[in-house]
């Protein structure tokens, strides 16, 4: 399969709805047909070719050259293939993602990976609020897949998260893992306030966690051995060499259980030496 590159011709006014830019859809069309696809920009329908030049490239990727900061829904409901956006983008990237890979080489807005089920999203910059949260009108957040953010995330990352993994290399904002149902979140940097509010189950692993960040209805921290951390560390090391020093780490951690206001089986883990 040959790839496609879309290059923005000129700046545009309004928000560009990019939900039509899916590898599985575009790869089956000719260049001319792709240029005829209707795109919603600020409520106006225009042909894609009006905004983007379309060219075939030697790869199996759909590559977007911006800037397209005023855009949303990149990779929405995408089921396969590889989408690469070479600039900052707006909200709802990977909305309901069902498979494939999305790489954002810049920053993203809010609601990244909302309601996603499978596949992976990588962001080289920062992400806004509600990463992995429910899509609008839904009760449950992401149900599978993995989101990796090199920078920081905003508030309510993992809100109502049902399954899957979020890895944040930077800091996380307030209300991390609020209303979380299951799944795993790793935060390598600092964690904001009120983390774990109404958290039912699930795990937050955060080496730099401060107890003051966790909502007060969690149990006090206790030192425990968590066997599955051995598998978790090995997996982290296998997907990212920056975690390689964890591969053979001890499986002891400080553990806070809560939120007692609801089911109370969510956990915050902060690794410690044996």
């Amino acid at each position: 399969m040959s790839g496609i590159e879309l290059t923005l011709r000129h700046p545009y006014a309004g928000i560009l709805d990019a939900s039509a830019f899916l590898p599985e859809r575009l790869f089956s069309l000719s260049t001319a047909a792709i240029e005829q696809i209707e795109v919603d920009v600020g409520g106006q329908k225009e042909a894609l070719g009006h905004f983007f030049s379309v060219s075939a490239i030697e790869s199996d990727r759909l590559v977007i050259q911006g800037p397209v900061m005023n855009s949303c829904r990149w990779g929405a409901e995408m089921s396969c293939g590889r989408l690469i956006v070479e600039c900052d983008v707006g909200d709802e990237v990977g909305l309901g993602l069902r498979g494939g890979t999305i790489e954002i080489r810049g920053n993203v807005g809010s609601h990244l990976g909302c309601g996603m089920r499978h596949g992976s999203i990588t962001v080289s910059g920062n992400a806004g609020d509600y990463v992995g949260a429910p899509s609008l009108g839904q009760r449950r957040g992401m149900r599978g897949g993995i989101i990796t953010i090199e920078g920081n995330v905003g508030q309510r990352a993992g809100d109502c998260m049902r399954r899957g993994t979020i890895i944040v290399h930077g800091d996380a904002g307030d209300y991390l893992a609020a209303r979380m149902i299951a799944g795993t979140i790793a935060v390598c940097g600092r964690v904001g306030k009120q983390a774990g509010a109404l958290m039912r189950r699930g795990t937050v692993w955060a080496p730099q966690l401060q107890p003051a960040s966790i909502v007060s209805s969690f149990s006090s921290g206790q030192r425990v051995q968590i066997p599955h951390l051995a598998l978790w560390y090995r997996w982290l090391a296998s997907i990212d060499t920056r975690f390689s020093h964890w591969a053979h780490a001890e499986t002891y951690a400080h553990r806070w259980l809560g939120d007692a206001a609801v089911q109370g089986l969510g956990e915050f883990l902060s690794p410690i030496a044996a």
């Binding site: 795993t184 189950r201 795990t203 066997p227 599955h228 051995a230 598998l231």
Partner: protein, 298 residues
Amino acid sequence: MIINGVEIEDTFAEAFGMKVSRLIITALEPAWAKRAAAAVSGFATSVIACGVEAAMECEIDPAHTPDGRPGVSVLFFSVSTKELEKQLPRRIGQCVLTCPSTALFSGMDGERQIGLGGKIRYFGDGYQMSKVINGRRFWRIPVMDGEFLCEDTTAVCPAVGGGNFLIIARDQRTCLHACDAAAEAIDPIAGVIAPFFGSATRSGSKVGSKYKMLSASTNEAFCPSLRTVVGSELCDGDGAVLEVVIDGLNADLVRQAMRIGIEAVCRLGTAGGIRKITAGNYGGKLGQYHFRLHEVLA
């Protein structure tokens, strides 16, 4: 065929298609992993009454276990997937969950999966947690020494069970030594187990019995004490017979284990009291695998 003076009878071992699953047990110390393996593979010598045939396959270096701790691999063979599905949770719940510091992992891949941790998680009484790591689901069950970590499911694959050979020796002691030699030779082969303790059984059986409630009974043709009163397979001077039984992941492994085991016994030779090697079969009508001794040793 004669090897080192020992006659190899021109007959065949009759083996059966079975189902197998491999589990990996890890623990804080190797001794505890072995204890769990011994417990979970206890009372698992024959599918006739135990439900499964099981034994420790090998020890696993910490570098090669899922959680980086010392481990052992245990193979479980049964006549059907359904029977394995019934036996494994029962044995794990009573023998591995109960054994301090252990964790349990699936040790093989396959399309057909049966429940492990998914069945025994309820011991956690609502405090159990599941965790999906790299696409595999694990159950964390709180216990008094921390948490018991157990993989949700394990794979079941086709296998071969019931490969065998019979050692006919001058006397009981000689026969025991021969079995030790066979067990030592077979033990390093990955993918096979000899489910009887010490690799051998003295109660080789035939199908059926004069008593209707028994599906198997003593193989009188190989009982030295009955040599003069039944149609015996034994000759003057044959003092004891032991049967080495072998289960394997496939027919080639069973064949290899039979060859290596028989060669180890034959090295003792007639001077060591070994008189003959033969094999157990049911006329070729029951088992789909026939291992002819002369072909195995060719």
